[in-house]
Amino acid sequence: MDKPYKWTFWKREFNSPILLASGTAGFGLELMEQGFLEGAAAVISKATTLKPREGNPPPRIVETRFGLLNSIGLANPGVDEVLKTLLPQAADLPCPLIINVAGESVEDFPAVIERLEESPVPFGYEINVSCPNVAAGGIAFGASPEIVERIASLVKRVSSKPFSVKLTPNEGSIVESAKAAEAGGADAVTICNTFLGMKMDWRTGRAPLKRNVGGYSSPALLPLTVARVFITSEAVDIPVLASGGVNRAEDILELLACGAAMVQVGTWLMRRPDAARELREDMINLLESCSP
């Protein structure tokens, strides 16, 4: 029934346009165990850095009236451990794995990619120049088109696989940064990372998150993503991966109609671990109901 529905991304054909967003699915291993990867075209891993990072002190998650704030701080075991333990297990995933890479310096990015190139498991990479939750790097890289281009070109030099650059909505121009990523040789851009958000307890004058601000994700972000995906798609020729606010099949179709090549689902996995299957099924039903 859904045979005609195919999405091509990085020269590979998929029966779903859904990617599981970085940070919300680990390395896909827990979801695989439960059989919840059905419907996902690929999993994008938790950020991997050169050295292990223990992450930010708790609380790391605070729910606001209209969505979630997180301050995980790129907690990960580091690229050595990822290569040794996680990637061999991820070889069994029923879908490809894209490794999200973060760094504290510009040089960290090619250094991590060089190591990851030792493994046949990654299908590609997502370069995170936009984490709002770390002191060094993060947004600071993504705010400058020059640095985005430099990081993209350094990654291009060492990577045999395609990569996307995940941009920040918080500083600078997302369109200029996307053009810079394309100029540097990126094979896609991810539009975009979480929005800087904060909750304040007015009774105590204290923010629940230790770093005060965190990354805001919410179904309410959808129109912001739609706008950014639309204007970015007009400005670059590389695929645009939409990320932000997706929790219904209509959202996916809307973003695809705006020019997205693939659509990421993230925070909604906290609610529905089998969101990929559910959303894909709903989406196919919607498409079927509209076709002549």
Partner: protein, 228 residues
């Protein structure tokens, strides 16, 4: 409730309920499995925030999506057990008490209304306002405890209460203490790194998949603030 759920609902494990029908709150809410009987499961909760308020208003007979049982429960050591609970921290004790040789339960709460009943277990209660049992804190009940006589000690409550109890336990007996932790939680199945609890010796444990029940000595009590 499917039988597979019931058979895996060991004491100390938890479930996540989708409390909202709409988009908000986005995340599910985690609850300790209080007890299981036949093909039903009990949870005990207090309406303290938006998620639990919605749940409290949920009409009888409504279906809710549920994920679980999740996490690691108590190691069911042989020998007699002592259970120490503060307020709603004792929510998991009915199921635990039924699965072990429970000698006694010590319960502390702010007032009578917040004191739980643990069916079939010898219980000594204390309340901060004296509305049930003596007036005081649960630590006031620890003076005459023969710590070495217990094969297992379960402890659950607010973090400051658990810290005070552990300090009152002789160092030798602390290795027998298992605590049930609570954290603001995202996925509930080990992926998002949201529900971290400071680990002894550095780093963090995941409340949802490493716990929620931990050996007390695996936690860095200095760094752990719990939920405010």
């Amino acid at each position: 409730m499917p039988l597979s759920f019931i058979s895996e609902a060991e004491p100390g494990r938890f479930l996540q309920l989708e409390v909202s029908q709409g988009s908000f709150p986005v995340t599910r809410r985690p609850f300790t499995i209080s007890s299981v009987a036949g093909n039903s499961v009990d949870i005990i909760f207090e309406a303290v925030g938006r998620g639990t308020e919605i749940l409290a208003e949920t009409k009888e007979g409504r279906s809710l999506r549920l994920l679980g049982p999740l996490g690691c429960g108590y190691r069911l050591n042989s020998g007699k057990w002592l259970l120490i609970g503060g307020g709603l921290g004792a929510a998991g004790f009915p199921g635990l008490a039924a699965g072990i040789d429970c000698d006694q339960v010590l319960l502390g709460a702010s007032s009578r209304g917040k004191l739980l009943t643990i069916p079939g277990a010898r219980t000594v209660a204390i309340t901060e306002d004296g509305s049930s049992g003596t007036k005081g804190l649960v630590t006031d009940l620890l003076g005459s405890i023969l710590w070495d006589s217990y094969g297992g000690i379960a402890l659950c409550g607010p973090v400051p209460m658990m810290k005070a109890v552990i300090e009152a336990i002789p160092v030798k007996a602390r290795a027998n203490v298992q605590i049930s932790a609570e954290a603001m939680m995202g996925c509930g199945w080990g992926a998002c790194e949201g529900c971290s609890v400071p680990k002894a010796g550095g780093g963090f444990l995941k409340c949802c998949s490493d716990g929620p029940v931990f050996p007390a000595d695996s936690i860095d009590w200095e760094r752990w603030e719990g939920i405010h």
